[in-house]
Subunit: 434 residues, 2 copies
Amino acid sequence: MASRLRLKKQKGPKGYLAERINRANSVAIGRLFSVEPTFVDVETAINVIPGITKHTILHSGTPIEWERMCDPMKRAVRGALIFEGLANDDKEAENLLRKNSIKLSPNHNHDSVGPMTGIISPSMPVVVTKDLTYRKKVFSTFNEGGGRVLWFGSFGKETLSRLKWIREVFGPIMKKVVAKAGGISIWTILAQGIQMGDECHNRHASSTNIFLKSIIEPLFSLGLSRDISLQVYRFIAGNSHFFLNLTMTSCKLALDAAHDVKDSTLVTAMSRNGTDFGIRVSGIGNRWFMAPAPYLEDALYNPGYDFNDGAPDIGDSSIIETMGLGGFAIAAAPSMAAFAGGGFEDAVRITREMGQITVAKNQKFSIPVMNFEGTPTGIDIRRVVESGVLPSINSAVIHKSSGAGQIGAGIVKAPYECFAKALRAFGSVYRLAA
Amino acid sequence: MASRLRLKKQKGPKGYLAERINRANSVAIGRLFSVEPTFVDVETAINVIPGITKHTILHSGTPIEWERMCDPMKRAVRGALIFEGLANDDKEAENLLRKNSIKLSPNHNHDSVGPMTGIISPSMPVVVTKDLTYRKKVFSTFNEGGGRVLWFGSFGKETLSRLKWIREVFGPIMKKVVAKAGGISIWTILAQGIQMGDECHNRHASSTNIFLKSIIEPLFSLGLSRDISLQVYRFIAGNSHFFLNLTMTSCKLALDAAHDVKDSTLVTAMSRNGTDFGIRVSGIGNRWFMAPAPYLEDALYNPGYDFNDGAPDIGDSSIIETMGLGGFAIAAAPSMAAFAGGGFEDAVRITREMGQITVAKNQKFSIPVMNFEGTPTGIDIRRVVESGVLPSINSAVIHKSSGAGQIGAGIVKAPYECFAKALRAFGSVYRLAA
């Protein structure tokens, strides 16, 4: 299959096409490396996210209609409608959705990203991450933490009260904190995090600690009551994934900067809605190249759960791997090796393999145990198709039907089919196909 | 030399002696593993440190008279006398010392430890670390941070004002913080730190962050003014070595628990005063086996300084290597590899070599990149003498004469001579020598 798909003229006289593509990819990767994502503000979704209305619910992955959504995403959408006061219960929510009274739309179409179900509803406070180089902004929710939470497709009374607290207390305070801090550079924190055992997807423990350090002073200088300041502090300190959503907005900023470069074969997004897995390619516009969302085969499950309980892979968070972090940087987080086969060498092997399908090393994020080699960055669809090496994504598993939320974590491979389709489309767009 | 020193009966019928020693070492290491060091209190040195008087200055390393002290330690002692109000200037301090009006005594003789010059004077606040298993307490100062500071043998106006602030503001507040926290487990923090790139001697960045996390709530709940709370916070957050002194007290607690085990050949302290390097051995009581303090040959110097500017190795902090951390755990901190020859493999090689001279692996501190192997712990003088492999210590370099303070950092090897002397003494104590 690989050879059939190889772009014919790539091997032609003087390798003209390959040169053109390589040049385009260099331009794209140069743009990716030059972004400076900074957490600059907190706003209400409806006030800043382009195209969102009072009756819009944003979700992770590629576009999908209500009926085809997986169970956990459906639960999260219904929960968001109740949170917005558009429905009083699941049944009312379901009715609205069946009548098409609610617009469901993917985050990526609205300069946004969200982990797992990735739900963003109009009244939620969102982090505003701005790229100081190209001035674009990308949005995401605050990470809700563990337990019964929308991002894990779980909903209950405590979900609602936590979301309300985030909207009414936490968000407004964080807006002041970020203003007082004068903006917080995300790459600076991740560069340290990766020296401290984070791969910056499934493990953000160190990055979250460093983030905490950078907000303590502004938080406790705001003139708030001690109790409220400590509540805010505790919410962040109690969730080692807190920084995840900020990482995701930053990765999207970098990949968006690399998008729409003519002739470029670089992947600029990988995303999943729990039903489909899609990728976008820099030189082919905003089309998604899709395949069924895979199940996590290499995962560790919480007691009482196994492979048969898991929903297919879900979330915009694979934007992190598209950026060369997460699964691509797993050697930086040997504590994740349990998912990779057990040993540190397995983690290094995966990071090395990702080097085969990427075009550059990102020296901003250097992996200590690989002698500070940069993270393998810039997935080239040609290399994936030719090598058969698939992007390795660190992910979580949520229950497929019970609303139990997270039941495990592990590794998943992006489907070959997406890259094969993208390469065919690339050939056809540039009139190069066999 | 090695073979001449080997204990004769070790190879005798049934290896009786070797068995007896190994059994004793197992007992000692079992005691070492069972301590639970906890930061429980802050007190004024004179109120808690056994044997300290108003005219005592404690210092690092083995016992040493004023005349033989290295220049940076002399500067620190004079500074401490000025801080205590016993002298108005260097000259008056010098006179007191020449007249023998001041008792100089090593920390180790007073259940205490201190990094570099290791100065503890009577009015300083000290951390009280208690072993919950054997109930012993060990003391150290708060780490002063960078710049002109006593621990680096540097003294000026700002040294004095910082020491006074620590005594009058910081210490009393930390006493309340620790009480409110209900004690802070040190191993728990170091176990996480070592998963996050700390080797727990020259690098404590993650451990200090985790410590910060554990005191934010008590600190900001004390009812102090916001400014004062933030001052305290800033002092810790601005010093990535803050946790060092707490690590040292804990290592001493563990090694003291392993001390005085009959027949044991385990090293229970390595310490240096900037002139001499000394070690103690579990089965031979409190004698120090000494050699000249070595210079750091593998070090990186601040701009403008080189090998010729450095004082000999100094400080009680090698208690950390005696515990199997620091240089012994350097593979856990690849960012320290620059000192080890440059590459990650060099760091792993050093940790593996330390495995040759130690009797156990400490699973409490597992090294992620070595597939979670425990840190090599329990230096056996027999193994050092037989193999010629010397304990590798991560250390700092301070200026030998100018009072400039720290000028570099690097690796130093414990002198062979100390171990050879100790092994001879062991033979003679147990009447086993040739």
